[in-house]
Structures are given as C-alpha cells and as structure tokens.
C-alpha cells in the first residue's frame, strides 16, 4: 500500500490508528508515540472544570477494566489557554473530545474551540442529560441528531459522534448522527458495569463504571459491523483493540479508522504497535488501498 492516509472532511490522517479519548490524556506524555499515530483524541473536555469521581476509579476483571474517572478535566478555558498551545505543537492531528450535560454545551464547546488549531471534534454523548432524568444523550436518536446538527453549524472541521451501545441500538443513533451532518461515528464507548466489594457495596468511587479492554471486543466488533452496513459515513472502530490483528478485524467489519484505548494503559506504545502490526498484516494480505480491507466481512467475492 503506497498511501496509508485516511481523510475525514478533507482533513488527512497519516494512518487510520488514533489514540482513544481518556486513555491518552492530551497526547503530551509520550510525544514520540503520538507522532506515529494518525491522530490523538483528547480526554473529554467540558465547559466547566471537573474534579472527577472519588477513588477507586478503576477495577480489573478478566479481560477488561471498569473505570469511573468521571470526566476529570480542566474545563474549556484552561484547556484552551494552557493545554492547547502545547498540544498544537505536537505535530499530530488532534481531535478534541467534548462532553456536555446539557445539549447546548456541545455546540458551545465546538464553537469556542473552532478558532483553535485542532483537527476536529468528537462529541461524547455518553454523559447523563441532566435536564432529562439522567439517560445519556447518546441513547436518544432525536437528541443525537439535534446535538450533531448544532455542532455541525459551528464548525467546518470534522465532527465525529461517539456512540454508546448501552441499551441502545447504535444503528439508530448512527443514522441520527449522519442525518445531523456528522462526518463519522465512533463505535463504541464503554459499556455499563458494576463491581462490588466483599461487603456488597460498590467498589468504585463513582459507583458504576464503564467496561473497556479485550473483553469488549466481540461486542464492539458486532456493533461496528452493523453500523457500517447501515450508514454512509465512515465508522471509527473502538473497543478492545490490543494489536494489529484486532485493528484489522475492525477494518474488515467496516471501520475506516480505529481507536486504541485501554491497551495504552498497559503499554504506552500500544497504539503505535497497533499501527505497525496493522501495516504489516495489510502488506502480507497484498492490500493496495484501504478499500481492499475496509468492509470485506460483508463483501461478496
């Protein structure tokens, strides 16, 4: 393959492997790794700074982890003024993951960051919709479409919608995101999970957590396969990707890009290794362009 790059709304990513939100901070800790990736997605940013949940924030189970970080982040202003300048100097495509607790917060974040040197935005719709009883935005296709449309109106850069599969068919919300003008959907965010102490009380300081890691992969792959068949915009595959073969599976199932999350907690260069591994596998397969790989699970031949 001569050209490894992938485009979203005209923005070119050098390769299809991104670091996933919340598992790579702002890409600054391991700059050499960031530079080898197609891009990095930042920790979720909210309008106001957030302290996050009390500890413990992480629980390990066979094949995965639960986290309840609770979106700890410096907030819009400090992110823009203190973090972004350093991030911009990274020389890597930076997608800002934005999160809100009211519909209006998403477009505000996108609008205010649109003047900054960022490659694009990922809307994290997994937070509870405070005004509406606490179900996540991402569980309601109408809200997904509405929030996407409003963000779309505020920027000409790529807008990616990160979907949840918690009690929600991501096909429905992916279609809504597409209707709202999204350039891509990320499939999927963490799955709800609970862990208890020996005394029967929740282990995590945030009570419930989000499942990630290899244990999530079959479910995430199932979701990508369905969503990719249902929408015309690119899908970004995410969930349990640990090596090149995992990434290849997501591309085969229809993803145009992938994100590496939990793996980076174990090996700081995991995402770069995913890319090296994927490239080698594609070379061995004799692929001449991503089109040879992407979606081949459903292709007749």
């Amino acid at each position: 393959m001569k050209n490894h790059s992938v485009r979203l709304r005209g923005v070119e990513f050098a390769n299809p492997v991104l670091a996933a939100s919340g598992t790579w901070e702002f890409g600054l800790r391991f700059k050499a790794v960031s530079a080898r990736l197609g891009g990095v997605v930042t920790k979720g940013i909210t309008v106001e700074p957030r302290a996050g949940n009390p500890g413990p924030r992480i629980f390990e189970f066979p094949g995965g982890i639960l986290n309840s970080v609770g979106l700890e982040n410096p907030g819009l202003e400090r992110f823009r003024d203190e973090v972004l300048p350093e991030v911009a100097a990274l020389g890597t495509r930076v997608i800002v993951n934005v999160a809100g607790f009211e519909p209006g917060e998403f477009d505000r974040l996108v609008g205010e960051l649109d003047r900054e040197p960022v490659a694009g935005f990922e809307l994290n719709l997994s937070c509870p919709n405070v005004g509406h009883g606490g179900a996540a935005f991402g569980q309601d296709p109408k809200l997904v479409e509405d929030i996407t449309r409003r963000a779309r109106a505020r920027t000409d850069r790529p807008v990616v919608v990160k979907l949840t599969a918690n009690f929600t068919d991501p096909v429905a919300t992916a279609r809504a995101a597409e209707a709202g003008g999204a350039d891509a959907v990320t499939v999927i965010n963490t799955l709800f999970g609970l862990a208890l102490n020996a005394n029967g009380r929740p282990f995590l300081g945030g009570r419930n957590g989000g499942m990630s890691g290899p244990a999530l992969k079959p479910f995430a792959l199932y979701c990508v396969d369905r969503v990719a068949a249902a929408v015309g915009i690119p899908v970004i595959g995410c969930g349990g990707i640990m090596d090149g073969r995992d990434a290849l599976d997501f591309l085969s199932a229809g993803a145009a890009l992938v994100q590496v999350g939990t793996a980076s907690l174990v090996e700081p260069d995991a995402a770069a290794r995913v890319w090296t591994g994927l490239r080698r596998l594609c070379r061995d397969l004799g692929a001449e362009s991503w089109a040879d790989i992407v979606g081949r699970t459903r292709r007749e031949d």
Binding site: T23, E25, P54, G55, R57, E60, P62, V69, V266
Partner: protein, 251 residues
C-alpha cells in the same frame, strides 16, 4: 516509553506472604531513585490485564530488589517467578523524593511498607541523621530488619501484639521522636490508616507518605489514580507522587 525486559536473579518468601525478588537491569539500577516505582506485567497475555505497581526497595550495582505482599492474582504470579524468568517492566515511574541534606529524617514503615524506605534510608544516611521505625502486627511480620541494621541507623520496632519492640502502632514511635521546629522530615509507607494517623498526630515536622492506592496506567494518561486533595479536587498521584505531602491530601 518502552517496557523493559530483565531477568529475575532470585525470588524467595522472606516473611509469611512477603516475597523478595532481585532482578538485573543496569539501566534501571542507574536510573532508580528513592520514591520511584516500577509497573510490572504479572504475566504475558491479556489477563491479568493491568500492570502491578511496586516500589524499588533496593539497588545493588546492576541489580534491583522488590519486596512485596501477594494479596491477589497478579502478585501471586510475580511470586511464582524463578531465577532466569523474565520481568516485563515499565519504569522508573513517579517523582522521586527530593533528598534533603543535614536534617533529621524519620522513616516509618508499616508492614511491607518498609520496602521503599530501605533505598531511601540508604541514600539519606550519609548526609542526614536517619531514624527508622518499623511496625507490624507481630514480630514475624517485621521485614528487612537486618538490611536496615547494616546501614547503622537508629532502628525502632513496634508490634500490635508486643512480640517485638513497642506494643502499639509504629506511629507512636514517630510521634515520640518529633521535635517541632527542628526541621525534621518524616517519610512513611504503609496502610492508609497509618498514614492518616501520622497526618493527624505529627505536628511540627514535614510529613510525606508513599501512597499505594489503585492505579490504571502509572504513567499519567488515564486519571484513574486519585487522592482527594485538601481544598477540593484530586491528585493524580502516579505523577505528582507516589510520595505526597500528608498535609496536602484529605485522608
């Protein structure tokens, strides 16, 4: 940052349920300072998934020592390693202790918390006056006593059952030795309750704790390590610690 491979040189149970593991890695031996920790993969493959953080207990030429309890699955695998087996290590991690000079430094270790204090004592003793206090439930749980003695420091012991040294918490010994206004420093490692006890009772000395709480990455990228900070918010103690001033956190 790449993970490193290093051969195990020795591994033995030195007290009930406590292992001492030596491994060889010249680069790490040179780089590790008191307060640094290493994040170890318990085995190959995806389960257990996360690395296990362990403090550097000691360094001798090209070799490093870890001393650890094995409360769960990951450390149980580490306890089974035999000489010649390979460790998969990320480190050194964390912010090392800024070593003082010409001070009186009190070290307080509860149980296996004695481990990181050994390297600290070794690096402090030439230019400071160092007193070490080790506590455990009973005498058999006191570890590294010979190693500390060889450093020719003042060493005091405390056990809950009085089977060796003072009967009562090791923090009693620390409190008794604090002389406010003399610029003393306290470094402590042990259960959270012990650190909280020290934070409450030590007045007039700068007290630091080695925190051994849950982590995700150990490298600062996941925000899964969180100590409540005085005045609100959390300290990402894999970065700002693991050695943190006791009066800066809410215990």
């Amino acid at each position: 940052m790449k993970s490193l491979r290093a051969p195990v040189v020795a591994n033995a149970e030195v007290a009930p349920g406590i292992w001492s593991l030596w491994f060889e890695h010249p680069g790490l031996a040179r780089a590790c300072r008191p307060g640094h920790f290493l994040n170890l993969k318990p085995g190959p493959g995806p389960d257990p998934l996360l690395r296990r953080p362990l403090s550097v207990c000691d360094v001798e030429r090209d070799r490093l020592r870890l001393v650890f309890r094995a409360p769960g699955r990951g450390t149980a695998l580490l306890a089974q390693l035999r000489p010649g087996d390979e460790l998969d290590i990320l480190g050194p991690l964390g912010r090392p202790v800024r070593l003082p000079k010409r001070r009186t430094v009190l070290l307080c270790g509860g149980g296996v918390g004695a481990a990181p204090l050994l390297l600290l004592a070794r690096r402090l003793r030439d230019e400071n006056r160092v007193k070490v206090f080790l506590g455990a439930r009973a005498a058999e749980g006191l570890i590294l006593t010979r190693e500390f003695s060889r450093l020719r420091l003042e060493v005091g012991f405390a056990t809950d059952d009085g089977s060796h040294g003072h009967r009562g918490p090791v923090t009693d010994l620390v409190v008794k030795n604090v002389h406010p206004g003399t610029g003393q420093l306290v470094y402590a490692c042990g259960p959270l309750a012990m650190l909280a006890d020290l934070a409450r009772r030590v007045k007039g000395a700068e007290a630091w704790g080695f925190f051994e709480e849950r982590m995700g990455c150990g490298t600062g990228i996941c925000y899964c390590c969180a100590l409540p900070r005085k005045g609100g918010g959390y300290t990402r103690f894999c970065q700002e610690g693991p050695v943190v001033r006791l009066d800066e956190v809410e215990l």
